[in-house]
Symmetry: C2
Subunit: 252 residues, 2 copies
């Protein structure tokens, strides 16, 4: 868990970018904004970058900001006093961080890769959503997607076997990375520890199940264990035990 300075870790690239050119412009909380609203957002925004492993917010912290994840990947985790940890969410580009109307974070937010947030000072943002329905409506939409995803995950945590859990997670990552071409392939952003934390399992069990899925020909694993590919997605889907309803774990 190396803690590097971070703020300057990824200099320049995204500094005070024009919203119009933002790669997630049409998926983030600002998706429905018109020109004027976008201007207003652009006025108040600022960027900040965190290095892998760095803490973006501690459980119970008071956050002076909310924002959108622009680049990278971060995890949300909750823990029990004795050290047991459960990941309760994952942030990917366009996901929203923080909660208007409450300043204390109910979970810890940690950067997995180099991560850049587009930040808005809380008070200003709250005023903004009070009078621009385009933002609050989009935020409602995104929150409901996350709620659905959280509930899908509750089913996984409450009822799925270890094999099904691992297959479900791999399926999600693969679908995300999908390039439409048959042998699906993806580089895992999460290490075994983070996967175990997400799945309510231990590292050892995750590793064993990945090995089992490989033995059974459901997936292939490249050297290093971080890249997986899947010759037949339907087989993986079957191993995940899902009913045919589309999964919603990573909301759009």
């Amino acid at each position: 868990m190396k803690q590097q300075p971070g703020s300057a870790a990824m200099p320049g690239t995204l500094a005070t970018q024009d919203c119009g050119a933002c790669p997630i412009r049409h998926r983030a909380v600002c998706a429905k904004c018109d020109g004027d609203e976008l201007d207003r957002l652009q006025q108040m925004k600022s960027y900040r970058t965190w290095a892998p492993g760095e803490t973006i917010a501690l459980e119970g912290d008071t956050l002076p900001f909310v924002g959108t994840l622009v680049r990278g990947c971060a995890t949300l985790t909750k823990s029990l006093e004795d050290g047991r940890v459960q990941m309760v969410g994952m942030l990917m580009p366009s996901d929203f961080v923080g909660r208007p109307g409450r300043s204390a974070a109910p979970y810890e937010v940690t950067a997995v890769t180099d991560t850049t947030l587009c930040l808005f000072e809380r008070q200003g943002f709250e005023r903004l959503i009070a009078d621009t329905p385009h933002v609050s409506t989009r935020l409602l939409e995104m929150s409901l997607n996350e709620l659905d995803a959280a509930r899908d995950w509750m089913l996984l945590l409450g009822r799925k076997t270890a094999r099904e859990r691992v297959a479900t997670l791999l399926g999600l990552v693969l679908r995300r990375a999908a390039t439409q071409t048959a042998p699906l392939r993806a580089e895992l952003p999460l290490g075994r520890e983070a996967m175990a934390s997400f799945l309510g399992l231990t590292i050892e069990t995750v590793s064993r199940q990945i090995s089992a899925l490989r033995r059974d020909g459901v997936i292939e694993v490249a050297a290093g264990g971080r890249t997986i590919l899947c010759p037949d997605f339907a087989t993986l889907r079957l191993a995940a035990g899902d009913n045919d309803n589309a999964e919603q774990i990573f909301p759009d």
Copy 2:
């Protein structure tokens, strides 16, 4: 699982009531509405009642309405094809049912007790939230509360022991029913099966853990097993394994 007619199960009492006199007026989605907005809601609303055990919506159903639970108690459940079931939420008075912007229910909704909903035709409601920020803001607030609750539950399902899970649930029910007086007392709305479904356990394990908590003097159980009381809430809290952060499972 007796399926009674239901629609006429609770005649009169709540039929087309005046919103101003509604017992949950200040907690539901209409909490922030002013007089005009309330009139508009009152125009479009209608009541409907379900009997215990009746299905309000099936997983995947298209719901023509959204609404607020006015009276009773209902469960949200998701299931796997082979019959495994996980409860993913519970609806209590003032909770909102359904999702503006999407018509298919992602889970099954079932009445636990006699349950009355205050219904709004979907299209009309969507138009309403598009131009009354008071409703959409409140709905966002409620959704974020539910999201927090879902994430607390993920921690429970992923990492807590059977004893901790049962203690957590009992603590929630007791706190809800709290009359401030020391020996907390509550009648469980949920039977053992529903509890097991909520907690990601089996009926037998729930029963055994309740017995164990009683043996250990953490709780007392009245004849019939449906009423529990707790001489010392701090002890129960301890058995639940929570850190001191207030739990949010049943959002306000």
